[in-house]
């Protein structure tokens, strides 16, 4: 990709190739694994709705999977979240995600029904599929977007994404190619309101493939719970401790909280250097860059070296005795006080809250 700001070639005079004009509507790939839809798909339906209204077109969900109740239910949910229509492809070959049948299915659907925009979540699955589909269709793909917009006049998707390690943003357009494809990061688009009064039609399409066509076989799935590897980069919840905890013994309080939350443990450079925890847990400039949904920073001042490794977290809770600590400049919530008293209280509060919920779930 070029670093320079390029003007889209002849933007003023831009005219869409008439053969591409028949491509209409916005599609969202409904990603699901093991019975649940990834929330990014609903977020994308919400975003697609807004874009579609600007273009005056329909929003469609694409549901692919093994035949069963789930796929129908997912279509229904897609309507509730903003889809006008769904394309459903059911086949036993689509039971677990594999690149080959999913690529084949998706490209067939696109070639048959011609959407102008195709959106997928920037998950491992979504990015794997999007790359293959875009290359097969010989169209453009903008990965990992954080913002979408439309140039209505030329019906062009303006896809904005972080570049150069997140220090810059760039906006990318796919002009004379269709569909315009983008993968979008989870949790950057707002979750739409679920509206059960909505409904829509379903178009079914067959996958023209048989198992023997597919070379890659799924032997097994190993859930992360079953592995003991420190996996900070992919952790959804992280509890991190800094030198503000004073002593290695006090770090136990971090472990206690993490246990209740099912969280990973992170740490600052000085903590790692002091040998309180392993080096693989270091977050920051010379450690890991993390993007969890919840990051709890305890006794961490928030020096720039640590900040760059974690400030993309969704929600940051900071606990520090110094009200002027820089961490409060960018955290979501702050508690000023002694970690030794606040940590146990917080652990207890989470325990109550979560066990109450789990009890409810069990009762129901």
């Amino acid at each position: 990709m070029s670093e320079e700001t390029k003007k889209p070639a002849g933007k003023k005079k831009f005219e869409l190739d008439p053969r591409l004009a028949e491509y209409r509507g916005i599609w969202v790939f409904i990603e699901h694994e093991r019975g649940t839809v990834h929330t990014v798909s609903w977020e994308l339906l919400g975003e697609a709705r807004k874009l579609a209204d600007k273009l005056g077109v329909q929003v469609a969900g694409v549901v692919m999977g093994a035949p069963g109740e789930d796929t129908r239910r997912f279509c229904q949910e897609a309507f509730y979240h903003g889809a006008d229509h769904c394309y459903l492809m059911e086949d036993l070959l689509l039971k677990d995600y594999r690149n080959q049948p999913y690529t084949k299915g998706m490209t067939d659907l696109v070639n048959a029904y011609k959407p102008e925009i195709l959106l997928l979540g920037a998950t491992t699955l979504g990015r794997d599929l999007a790359g293959s589909v875009a290359t097969t269709l010989l169209t453009g793909l903008t990965a990992d977007c954080t913002e979408l917009n439309i140039d209505v006049e030329i019906r062009s998707l303006l896809a904005t994404r972080p570049t150069f390690g997140g220090s810059l943003l760039c906006t990318i357009q796919t002009l004379n190619y269709r569909p315009q494809m983008a993968t979008i990061r989870p949790r950057v688009m707002a979750m739409p309101k679920r509206d059960t009064s909505r409904s829509g039609g379903i178009t079914e399409h067959k996958l023209s493939m048989i198992e023997t066509d597919i070379i890659t076989k799924v032997l097994e799935f190993i859930p992360d719970e079953n592995t003991n590897k420190v996996n900070l980069e992919y952790a959804d919840i992280i509890v991190s401790g800094g030198k503000g905890l004073k002593k290695q013994e006090n770090f136990q309080l971090i472990w206690d909280l993490a246990k209740v939350l099912g969280a990973e443990i992170g740490a600052t450079r000085p903590v790692v250097q002091s040998g309180w925890v392993e080096a693989v847990r270091q977050v920051g400039q010379t450690g890991k860059t993390v993007r969890p949904k919840l990051y709890i920073a305890v006794g961490i001042s928030g020096a720039i070296q640590h900040r760059v490794g974690m400030d993309a977290s969704d929600v940051i809770i900071a606990i520090n005795s110094d009200p002027n600590a820089p961490i409060f400049d960018f955290a979501t919530y702050g508690i000023v006080g002694n970690a030794m008293t606040i940590l146990p209280a917080l652990t207890e509060a989470f325990r109550k809250e979560l066990s109450a919920r789990n009890a409810e779930a069990v009762a129901a």
Partner: protein
């Protein structure tokens, strides 16, 4: 005047050799009980040496500029074991 050297060091480029600090305090007890001046804690231009409050000194070499100051000013006790980082690691100047 309050100067945050961490902000300065953040502008620099480093390739940290995790788990292999190139500088070590030979005998921490010497710092705690014999060295009264602990000049390394204020003269190190990257603030790698920190007085821990209880008399001991902690050393974190990640921000080291590899100048050699700490080793030379510890001439009273010669308590700093100073080597170059492994090839390619450590500070990497962009302008020098």
């Amino acid at each position: 005047m309050n100067v945050n050297v961490e902000e300065k060091l953040f502008q620099n480029r480093y390739k940290v050799d995790h788990g292999r600090p190139h500088i070590n305090i030979i005998d921490p007890v010497v710092c705690t009980s014999e060295c009264k001046t602990q000049q390394c804690t204020s003269v190190c231009p990257a603030n790698c040496y920190k007085a821990e409050g209880n008399g001991s000194i902690s050393l974190i070499t990640d921000g080291c500029l590899e100048c050699g100051t700490c080793r030379i000013i510890c001439d009273d006790f010669k308590n700093v074991a100073w080597e170059y980082p492994r090839g390619g690691y450590g500070i990497l100047f962009k302008f020098g």
